[in-house]
Symmetry: C2
Subunit: 244 residues, 2 copies
């Protein structure tokens, strides 16, 4: 099967989760790296593949697969290699619940805070009018509004404060889980660990006051276990030297 992965460099969040799942399974794929600040994902060549302009996209013999969570379930079901989902239905539910939490709840809070920090920088030397025009072309209306608010720095402070509260609560919840289980879905490494690391692991770098060896020791040990995995080391090597 011919597999083509369209992903963002530097590898993070939604792109990193799918890239890493393919590495963990040992699946061969053709890489199509795109660079976010160049707005490669809004150029006609990519919009012809994924009209929503969202990244990543996995193309399997011409079939276009979008949405990282669903792509990763497909990867685990379709290919040989180590299982990335627990067999027990209740553990598998827990895995999906943590994937969803990492992406949609805690990860959204991380992204809102991050966008407000980096979107103005992404503008680089572009004139504000040019940047506005680029952002007005984001096909998904919710995403477009979030990015425009971040660029204009008009995200309501109450919403940023909500996101901070979510981070505090999320770090506490995750620490409690990892104090009782080696991996998020139980005894085995799974898509839940991949997702949490990709969407929320960077809290340890950005907001070390929330995630650190004394406040969240189990989480820091879990992060170290993940970083030691061969597939994760390969992921890091692919990103080395590329800066946001």
């Amino acid at each position: 099967m011919q597999l083509d992965l369209y992903y963002f460099q530097p590898l993070a969040t939604n792109s990193a989760r799918v890239f890493l799942a393919l590495l963990e399974k040992g699946v061969n794929f053709t890489e199509h790296a795109m660079f976010g600040p160049h707005f490669d994902h809004l150029k006609p060549a990519y919009l012809a593949i994924n009209p929503k302009g969202q990244v990543p996209t996995l193309v399997c013999d011409g079939d276009v697969l979008t949405e990282g969570m669903l792509i990763n379930e497909y990867i685990d079901e379709a290919f040989d290699g180590p299982a990335l989902r627990p067999a027990d239905p209740l553990d598998r539910f827990a895995m999906r619940r943590w994937c969803s939490y990492a992406e949609n709840d805690l990860g959204r809070a991380v992204m809102m805070i991050n966008w407000n920090r980096v979107v103005p920088d992404i503008a680089g030397n572009r004139a504000p009018e040019e940047m506005e025009k680029l952002l007005e072309n984001v096909p998904d209306p919710d995403r477009r509004r979030s990015w425009l608010r971040a660029f204009r720095q008009t995200t309501p402070p109450a919403e940023i404060e909500e996101s901070h509260k979510r981070l505090i609560e999320g770090c506490r919840l995750t620490e409690a889980r990892l104090a009782r289980h080696r991996w998020l879905a139980g005894d085995a490494y799974s898509l839940a660990d991949i997702d949490f690391m990709c969407f929320c692991g960077l809290i340890a770098d950005w907001m070390p006051e929330l995630m650190n060896a004394s406040t969240t020791p189990a989480t820091m040990e879990w992060l170290a276990r993940i970083e030691a995995r061969p597939a994760v080391r390969e992921l890091r090597e692919r990103t080395q030297g590329l800066l946001m």
Copy 2:
């Protein structure tokens, strides 16, 4: 296994999808009907089970399961009865993609339009201040904002217009799919059909100009096939006489 389902009456959207999956599998469960306009889901007894105050919740021998999509995958994996997901990985991907589309994309547009229509009615004889106070207690901030905007009728017209556009596009996409396939995920009835019927089937009633026998004949035939299923007829009987 002791199963307790907490759901909203009248059965619709997220509650209906899980209720129907249990009926289709032939699983026995204890019913805990809650009534949305009474705000049963924000009362302490329910918040003790699901602190987010969202419905439905399935409790399995004390394990609390939330998020309809994930609950339904669990139900299909954990219990005997007819398979509600296709076996082929690519068909299964398509199933999940349609579930996600029905709930998060098209279904959100339907709900936004519906909330703007019904939330003011839900107020009933309550004073506006009382209603505001109830809505201020909705634990999820995004949901709280959406309901407050609907109650105050302050949803920006541009966002309502976006939702209308999504409905037009969604009805077209779905019709194209059902003109080629008997069920949304391919040859077999699946969670995708359950979700699309529960989240988007009501377009045919509410906006018959978008979904009708001449514009979307394949969709109307598919709806009739679903309504003829014994489990769906049982679902309808459970709701009969209950009005929103």
